[in-house]
Symmetry: C2
Subunit: 420 residues, 2 copies
């Protein structure tokens, strides 16, 4: 892709209301545009990152037997009344049609998927089943903040699992935990699993997956030695206390909740009479689990965990492009532009995604600043100077040093570096 | 995929309110579930069809230089007031946040994309640009009907193009027409381009792409000899008149509007002051075109154009799976089940998508009826009878005859048939 053609260039100034690194860098880098408070448009560069995140999530959900479907955003009021949540969920957007019918704009989909599963599940032979979607959610937040971390419209993967009994759910639960760990690892994120309240659904605790960063909204109590980690809202220990698990030193840190998993018990199957006939012919309630993961929030968390004073530093797996090729003084028809076009073709033929900054009128300094801001993991520079040595300048976004690579070998080296 | 594991099986009875073939067959086949009037959940089988349609659309939009982005469903009231459409568009869903802010739930995105483009386009060098999204739209229809053809929530591809002058738009317009023709051809649909009103935007006419079927809402006046085709709403000729273009015989037919393309002129760039500096330094208004294509509606149109009394007959390019393998009397561990599992692996290794009806307790008649209802283009049957002849029964959904293919050759033959 030629940068001169790309819609959504870098911007010199940060939004005046940017309260976090992701709000500033995603806008300045040309990844998103704030349509209004808490609502973003995803520009071509940002959509590429989001799609990569979604695909990683999708692959790991498929790997644990999840079946993908797509549920509606418009949800009937009656379903929310059945669970008592029409008046209880304070962030529920409500609207009315011209015929007088009332809808909720879905912040979550238990009210839709529970009766849907009821239409297809009759016998114990139909269970267990795990269903997920990657879909747009809506929350009427009193105060949207932190860029794409807490918005009024956002992307989310929600998985729901349906089981014959608690033991079956308990056995599936760690499978999802492992899938979540795999997702975050593939995204290049260090996360910490913390225990939190089970909310209105269960007396048991839920689990949250936190990216540790100052931009996080959640305050956590973590042990510096063992896996003990609790959300401050449920923690019964103080930071000055020893770790209740190992006696080690506790830390108070902030985290972004990138995912959560809940044991829903029979809260929703009670409300919708979701039951099955067991092997003995008796009717029994289905036991449910739900597993959320904010896809647009994850993009924000990735920025919060990967930036420096010059811009974003995307991990390879989610970068909008693999390589950022900068051609200097390369007007059309000159040797530099020709070599850059040739290298772009060579890289693309090997499956490398290239963003080629081909702008003839822009200075080297500005191009380098844009490359740092956009944060693609590898920067390659072709200039008259490098061409004289039949080479290309190689620089990783996370390193300061540059060196020359032979023009004939750089495509091969790029592929092997990307696969490392 | 084993049919026994698939969520969303066939249903014996049609929904009581099914008013069209797609409403009946998509529900009975397990492709969608009606959440409420005009709002559908897409089950795994249906989502596979929808994704294939979306990918065809995406590829053809990329091929004409369209850049994909993702705009929000929540849109600020102020933008709709600027174009005067807040009170004019009668199908506009409106809602209010707890802080009192009013939003439209987007039925279309000119009110978002026009100011967005204004933030990035300054000079004539930044134009032309073409941007599209594949996204969920909302319309407060007085009466939702015809299954997924006219719903309150639906998927749509919307492309917007931005030009320096009318001539540039006029040159791009037929490029999009060709891309649309390519999309419909790849989906296996015969369409007819008809002229229609330009609506409030332009005195010129717009173009609609119609799938000719009795399920269509639009009445068309078509020439049986030449390309003359007009929506009845603008037609100045009567059916009994000769064709104004060639003197041929006119027909009155019904069609589903699967796509439309509009010359927007400067309606929206006037409202949002979207302008650029031309080569002489003068400020000029951007000229816009918009090009819609209903992705979920296209799935419905595909059914309306491809069904018989037994069920759907998906074209190869958009079928949920390539082959429907039926194993008969194959209890786990028997030769039939083993052979079916082996064939599934062999087909999948060659890139063939297989839905394997592995249910041991279901009769041959029921499995065949389900295969016809679901409508995958190729049915393969393995039974003790075919195995005795070391073969597989081959039947195309659109043909009545069956014949035996050698077990060792069927995978190769399937691949070549699919690529035909």
């Amino acid at each position: 892709m030629r940068y001169s053609h790309l819609f959504g260039k870098t911007r010199k100034t940060a939004p005046h209301d940017a309260d976090s690194a992701n709000a500033r860098l995603l806008v300045q880098g040309g990844f998103v545009d704030q349509t209004m408070a808490g609502v973003y448009s995803w520009l071509p560069l940002g959509l590429r990152v989001l799609r990569k995140v979604e695909n990683i999530v999708r692959e790991e959900m498929n790997a644990i037997g999840g079946q993908e479907l797509l549920l509606p955003a418009l949800q009937p009021k009656e379903n929310w009344q059945k669970t008592g949540r029409w008046d209880k969920v304070d962030v529920l957007f409500k609207l009315k049609s011209q015929t007088g019918k009332e809808y909720a704009l879905g912040p979550t989909h238990e009210e839709i998927i529970t009766p849907l599963v009821g239409a297809f599940v009759q016998s114990y032979k139909d269970l267990p089943v795990a269903l997920f979607q990657i879909q747009t959610k809506f929350r009427d937040e009193l105060r949207a903040k932190s860029g794409v971390l807490r918005g009024r419209e956002f992307g989310m993967k929600d998985l729901y699992s349906f089981h014959r009994n608690v033991e079956e759910l308990n056995a599936y639960y760690p499978t999802v935990m492992r899938a979540y760990n795999e997702i975050f690892t593939r995204c290049g994120l260090d996360i910490r699993v913390t225990e939190a309240s089970g909310g209105t659904f269960t007396k048991k605790r839920s689990h949250e997956f936190h990216v540790l960063t100052e931009a996080g909204e959640d305050r956590l109590v973590l042990c510096s030695s063992c896996s003990f980690a609790e959300n401050e809202e449920i923690a019964k220990v103080a930071i000055k206390d020893p770790c209740p698990q190992c006696g080690g030193k506790l830390l108070g840190l902030k985290g972004i909740e990138a995912g959560n998993i809940f044991d829903l018990g029979t809260f929703f199957s009670d409300a919708f009479d979701l039951a099955f006939t067991d092997a003995e012919g008796a009717r029994r309630r289905v036991v449910m689990g739900c597993y959320g993961l904010g896809t647009t929030r994850l993009v924000g968390a990735l920025v919060e965990a990967n930036y420096d004073e010059r811009g974003i530093r995307w991990p390879k797996s989610v970068a909008p492009y693999d390589a950022h090729l900068v051609s200097l003084a390369g007007k059309k028809g000159t040797a530099v532009a020709d070599a850059a076009e040739q290298l772009t073709r060579e890289l693309e033929a090997r499956g490398v995604e290239v963003l080629w900054d081909d702008r003839p009128e822009v200075s080297a300094g500005e191009k380098f600043a844009d490359a740092d801001l956009i944060g693609i993991p590898l920067r390659l520079v072709i200039s008259e100077k490098t061409l004289a040595k039949e080479s290309v300048e190689w620089k990783q976004r996370t390193a300061d040093e540059t060196h020359l690579e032979p023009l004939t070998a750089v495509a091969e080296k790029t592929v092997s570096w990307l696969n490392r």
